[in-house]
Amino acid sequence: MSSEINKQELERLAKLARLSLTPHEEEKFVKDLGAILDHFKELQSLDTAKVEPMSGGTDLSNVFRDDAERENTNRGAGTEAFPKKENGYLKIPPVFEQ
């Protein structure tokens, strides 16, 4: 297993995460993440072939609500924080090049 995050890999990850990084951050993160990934190597010595991965924090499964009509009591609460609005629509910069 490669535990290398070089500058090129870091830029790929930052692009996937929609995150702009400064040159100083790039330099620091390559160093920090190298040390952190080195630490993770200790896990490879453990035999986990017969262990099921634990996902989530509970033993609950299939938590459903009733498929019934519900009254929305907090309507508009999610949109009131939008920076720019017009007629109930959210205004954002263009998605496609003009």
Partner: protein, 487 residues
Amino acid sequence: MMTKEPLHNLTLASFHEGLLAKRFSALEMTQAHFDRIEAHNPEINAYLSVARNEAERQAEAVDVAVARDEAVGPLAGAPLAIKDCILVKGLPATAASKILEEYVASYDAGVIGRLKDEQAVFLGKTNLDEFAMGGSTENSAFGPTKNPRDLTRVAGGSSGGSVAAVAAHLAVAALGTDTGGSIRLPSSFCGTVGMSPTYGAVSRSGVIAMASSLDQVGPITKTVEDAAVLFNAIRGHDPLDATSAATAYDERELLSPDFKKTKQLVIGLPKEYFTDGMEPEVRLEVAKSVERLKALGFSFKEISLPHTKYALSVYYIIVPAEVSSNLARFDGIRYAAPAKAVHADNLTDLYFKNRGAGFGAEAKRRIILGTFVLSSGYYDAYYEKAQRVRALIRREFEDAFKGVDVMLTPVAPMRAFKIGARADDPLSMYLADVLAIPAKLGGFPAISIPTKPAAELAPDELPVGFQLIGRKWREADILGIGRLYEK
């Protein structure tokens, strides 16, 4: 009739008693705390925002009820501090991040709804490491919280603001969140009681998510007795949180345990938690606590949890993975524009710039690390491997709990460190939580209890907490032992 005792020294229990006896009003209690906040918050930086008008109105409503001899609950009129990643409708909720600097909560978190039903008073919102990522509250975009016992030292984190508020008597109690140690570590550093409940016991609805499979809201208080009261008020199933469980707790056992039964509990000492790297003062103080509990009649048993040392790696794979997903929603649009507007040519560009300018270094580091461990080609080696080892750690705890009822360990290998001492080296910061993390990976409840009360600390002595870890849904065990200890 006015009493001479300073109101800010009261606990939840003594405040409630005095309120019912009409020795003081809820409004006087709230005002006494705002006076303290005005005097001491500038140097401690526990609160990011206060809500004086709303708080006084809440307190006055309680005074009207008490004057009419209406029945009020144990939290009525109690002035509380709320960590700034928990939503209170109409108040800011910044998560100590620039990207949420202008955000005002549009609804109440599940725990806040319950506390409003109890007529609790909210003084304000407290500082934290950005999005609860950190062990010292130095990762806050709004400056570190200082340790009230020594202003050159960290309060611990990430719930450093809530804990410092309680330790400095700027709130009678507080809510924090604990993902890897964020309630217990600062509690140990500042000398408060802090509990991370069983995963699923308390609603996460309206809590800004860091790592959803680990985050829990919990009480931060001056006494274990108060922790039981606050936990009892916030626990319970919430249909708005699909991971909250409808587990039945025995309320009487939580609030007034049968101490004769408590004393029959067998306490395990996992040898892996008492390592050579520990500060000698921590080892000594925790050893004294063990002796004290022995003198109270408890029996101890040495146990072994050999996978303990892998918990830190597991945690720092799983948490960044969940962080990279949970923080994807912050784009600088949906939760108000950042205070500092950026110019962008198109939407993608806006995302890059808002997120680049809005997140601090630790948030960015975890987003990148999480993106990496989940990315194609690395998923099996890192993320899935960590999930498998997490299952091993949980099983190891479950096996150990067949032989003991409760475990006792230090909360952290060290006492509060100097501000700046670990800020530049993420791994050394992560190590502060090395003893707090394992219980969380299995979802077990754990509490930090000061080895001695603040009044018994020497002037230059730093607090130390010991940790009690219980079986799932058995908060009554760790709270019961804690109450016997503090008596």
